[in-house]
């Protein structure tokens, strides 16, 4: 779990590897958590995490990066040191908050992991100015939501399934159509170029 959190904290040039790692880790969580649920459900979830999250999405992102020649690293608005610092600090606060909450219904460790993943997703979306980094931030956010649904939804497999299916659907659409088009139209892929619409 801590590896997971750290891997999102470093996130500079190795985004895609991080995504693969996250997909595999999700696979691990599912094995630990869901072995008591019926077998088709299990297979569906595992296929989704392994094949979709750790193979298809990363390779698709790689394709987009290659196609649009985005060789430069995503430079953040604030320095690396301060971003790691802020992130660690936020995680500490999250840990304490989660410990003050009552356990029982959910396991604290999953909950903390999920919330910090969601947080890092937002962090990426807000503080980076490449479109592709925003998309990666969104995928990390979605991963966080999946973990959260694991932490919370022990008795709601339907909800977990729904969330994951829609997750697939949206990411395919967001990535497939629009990210590609944006790459074609706005060559640099900087968010700053998306400022034509304003008052």
């Amino acid at each position: 779990m801590s590896l997971f959190v750290c891997s999102t904290a470093i996130r500079l040039s190795t985004f895609i590897k991080v995504l693969v790692l996250q997909g595999l880790l999700l696979f691990g969580f599912f094995i630990i958590r869901l072995n008591e649920i019926n077998i088709t459900n299990l297979i569906l979830l595992l296929l989704e995490t392994v094949i979709f999250k750790s193979i298809i999405i990363p390779s698709f992102l790689k394709y987009i990066i290659k196609k649009n020649k985005l060789t430069r690293e995503a430079e953040p608005y604030i320095s690396n040191f301060s971003s790691i610092f802020i992130f660690t600090f936020a995680n500490l606060i999250l840990f304490f908050l989660a410990n003050t909450l009552e356990g029982g219904v959910f396991q604290n460790i999953y909950f903390v992991g999920a919330v910090s993943t969601i947080f890092s997703g937002f962090f990426l979306i807000i503080l980076r100015h490449k479109i592709i980094t925003n998309v990666i931030g969104f995928i990390i956010l979605e991963n966080g939501v999946v973990i959260l649904s694991l932490a919370v939804g022990k008795e709601m497999p339907m909800l977990v399934n729904l969330g994951i299916l829609l997750d697939i659907f949206v990411t395919v659409l967001v990535l497939g159509i629009f990210a590609n088009k944006l790459g074609d139209v706005f060559k640099e892929g900087e968010v700053d170029q998306l400022n034509q619409l304003k008052d």
Binding site: V105, F106, I118, I125, I131, N134, F138, L141, E142, V145, L148, S149, V152, G153, E155, M156, M158, L159, L162, G163, L166, F169, V170, L173, V174, F178, K181, L182, V185, F186, L194, Q196, L197, D199
Partner: protein, 477 residues
């Protein structure tokens, strides 16, 4: 069962439109769809409050919105045909447009009558996808930007709603209830843990503000309404905003039975008054008619939320305002389509002398101006008056004064821009008056009908509308 038939028929229509890609098939399937939509609507009205397929339950508030949607979508499809008469889109993009519009209307209908919050969430997601396709209709870099922003921010908001649903699920598990059905939540509201309920309300509220057009996440909605074709913008600023309202309303109903009702009202009041403020601030310096109307929608949604937060007669006023605003605003968006065809521009500075070029449309627009600013012949005057009265009774006098001052700014800004369009001299040198398109008066008649409906429903609400509104508010008393 009816819902399955409805969805299957819609699927057939959409695939028909996408496969044949002809003008006539677009016509035929759209007309068939409208017939289907009305049949479905009447069927649901006759089976109200009966659970269907376990996950759907057409209650009164859902039915009100369904009726509004059916009326607006009929008009929107009519104006879509007019829109395509004057553009040279390829058959492919036309058929994609119609398929997306029909998907949007269908998913909105299902979202209105869903009884389970996760089912509603799925249809909300579907509306996001189909409306992004509509926003991208023009295939320009600006519309791409708008579509991207809309899709991205909406996806984030949908993820937020899902987190909220999970928290709600926690509360439900702790209370040992079965499933997150709205009806179950309403019955057992007091059993739910207030902490999780608060967290869920905050997240779900924030998520739905994208659709409803409230602070904090109103921005992408403005871009979407600006860039989509005007018949689609009409649906964006009526039916989709209503869906956002409904999402907040359903949870608010549950919360109003618990101890955190006051807190939730405070959240609504803060967001609503900021929305009115932002709308006023942008209205004064807006440069484009469609964006102006989009900001005006934000103002009206803010006023509705104030009515919801304050309570009393404000509840009734808010629902009435919701209905009337949907008709008035969609009809104004249809008129912007005609304005664009005459002036060849949406910009306020390029417009003028509309009264001379399209007299009947201009008269409709003047009527629309009075209706949307809630001046006395308008039915929205009645609903706004109810909301303000409830604020007065609930001792929110200072807030009321501030809101009224902001409304004055909005009326002034809107009047200035619209009267420039109507009466001032045309200064756009690129337009030659002889080439200017003549707009037939027939086109403005549906708008006129919608405006007159607003006046009629405002002053003499038919008994069945009154009944529906009162039944919708049963849980809030």
């Amino acid at each position: 069962m009816a819902i399955i038939i409805y969805l299957a028929a819609v699927a057939i229509f959409i695939s028909g439109i996408l496969i044949f890609r002809k003008k006539t098939t677009n016509y035929i399937f759209s007309i068939l769809f409208i017939a289907l939509q009305w049949t479905f609507n009447v069927y649901e009205y006759n089976h109200r409050n009966i659970e269907q397929l376990q996950y759907f339950n057409p209650d009164s508030i859902g039915l009100i919105l369904l009726f509004v949607l059916s009326i607006v979508s009929t008009a929107s499809l009519y104006y879509s045909f007019i829109f395509f008469k004057h553009t040279n889109d390829t058959p492919r993009s036309k058929s994609i447009y119609f398929a997306a519009l029909i998907t949007l209307i269908t998913s909105l209908s299902c979202a209105y009558i869903a009884n389970h919050i996760a089912i509603m969430w799925i249809f909300v997601e579907l509306t996001t996808l189909s409306s992004a396709v509509l926003v991208y209709h023009n295939r320009s870099s600006k519309s791409l930007e708008a579509a991207w922003k809309y899709l991205f921010i909406s996806s984030i908001s949908v993820a937020l709603i899902f987190i909220g649903i999970l928290f709600l699920g926690l509360a439900v598990q702790e209370a040992k209830l079965d499933g997150i059905f709205f009806s179950v939540l309403l019955k057992n509201a007091t059993l739910l843990d207030p902490f999780w309920l608060k967290a869920a309300f905050l997240l779900i509220f924030t998520g739905f503000t994208v659709k409803a057009g409230l602070v904090p996440m109103y921005t992408v909605g403005i871009d979407a309404k600006d860039k989509a074709p005007s018949p689609a913008s009409a649906i964006f600023s009526s039916a989709i905003m209503n869906m956002g309202f409904l999402g907040i309303f359903r949870l608010f109903e549950v919360i109003s039975k618990t101890g955190i009702h006051k807190w939730a009202c405070m959240v609504l009041i803060i967001s609503a008054s900021l929305s009115v403020f932002i709308s006023a601030a942008y209205m004064v310096r807006v440069k484009n008619f469609k964006r102006m109307f989009a900001y005006s929608s934000i103002e009206h949604m803010g006023i509705m939320m104030l009515g919801m937060a304050v309570g009393g007669i404000g509840y009734y006023g808010a629902i009435l305002h919701l209905i009337l605003h949907s008709f008035a605003k969609s009809s104004l968006f249809y008129q912007t389509g005609a304005i664009f065809r005459v002036m060849k521009s949406k910009l306020i500075k390029d417009s003028g002398n509309y009264f001379g070029y399209n007299t009947f449309g201009a008269i409709t627009l003047i009527l629309g101006f009075f209706i949307i600013t809630a001046m006395p012949p308008s039915g929205m005057f009645v609903s706004e008056f109810m909301i303000f009265r409830s604020m007065f009774e609930a001792k929110y006098l200072w807030l009321l004064i501030i809101i009224v001052i902001l409304l004055c700014f909005i009326i002034w800004a809107m009047g200035k821009n619209l009267f420039k369009l109507l009466f001032s001299k045309l200064e756009n040198a690129q337009i030659i008056e002889k080439d200017m398109e003549k707009i037939s008066f027939v086109e403005s008649i549906p708008q006129l009908i919608l405006f007159l409906t607003v006046i009629y429903i405002g002053f003499y609400p038919p008994p069945f509308v009154q009944n529906l509104i009162q039944q919708a508010l049963v849980n809030l008393k």
